[in-house]
């Protein structure tokens, strides 16, 4: 099955594109997708501990089962302390 992966900010810069279509075995979980992309883009590993993920535009846990056509997004991490926005 195919899923879409949307990439933003630091993830987009590592992957080099803002959207990927990834082929996965039927019944794969979000976790399996993450591992597959990590082996393809090793620099993602440094981010993974602090990444969040969404499936179909809702935050999702790593054990979420994916379906064909799902839209997954990597939500890049916080960096740099507690009050990291300007305001």
């Amino acid at each position: 099955m195919k899923v879409r992966v949307r990439c933003f900010a630091a993830v987009r810069e590592i992957v080099g594109v803002s959207e990927l279509v990834v082929e996965l075995p039927e019944g794969s979980t979000l976790d399996q997708l993450i591992h597959q992309l990590q082996s393809q883009f090793p620099k993602l590993q440094a981010l993974t501990g602090s990444l969040l993920f969404s499936v179909n535009r809702e935050y999702a846990f790593a054990d979420t089962k994916l379906a064909a056509g799902d839209e997954v997004a990597f939500i890049p991490p916080v960096s740099g302390g507690t009050d990291v926005w300007n305001y």
């Binding site: 933003f8 630091a10 969040l52």
Partner: protein, 140 residues
């Protein structure tokens, strides 16, 4: 009214959008690009959004507000693209019959926006750059 825009943010249209004949108060919040952040000199910022998720999340914040306070209307607009010092990155307006609800809801909206709305900024300093994103939402 919920939006992502690459144009400068203005408060007046937001106020007009949220005001009802029942409104006795309108509270607004602007997030502005500061010159300094954590001791480093900012040259400019670049904001990026996941708009298809960000707008529903803004709507979700408005729903949360309506469950907590008696308000009339809520508007949240975030700017994306390159922003200079002094420019507003986010504008929030909340109208309510009374001032306390308008002010409390406005403060809540900006806190929750930082927590759950997928928008990032790259800080470009005089000596480097870094992507920054606030808050760790709890997946549900």
């Amino acid at each position: 009214m919920f939006g992502i825009t690459d144009q400068p943010l203005l408060l007046e249209p937001l106020v007009t959008t949220v005001k009802r004949s029942s409104s006795g108060a309108v509270a607004t919040f602007l997030g502005v690009v500061r010159e300094q952040t954590r001791g480093r000199q900012v040259r400019h910022l670049e904001y990026e959004a996941y708009p298809e998720m960000a707008i529903p999340k803004m709507r979700e914040i408005a729903d949360e507000i309506r469950r907590k306070w008696e308000v009339d209307e809520i508007a949240i607009v975030h700017r994306i693209g390159r922003l200079q010092i002094g420019e507003a990155s986010v504008a929030i307006a909340v109208s309510a019959p009374h001032r306390r609800e308008a002010l409390a809801a406005c403060a809540y909206a900006i806190d929750r926006l930082k927590e759950i709305v997928p928008i990032w900024k790259k800080e470009v300093w005089t000596d480097g750059e870094e992507w920054v994103r606030p808050g760790i939402p709890q997946p549900r």
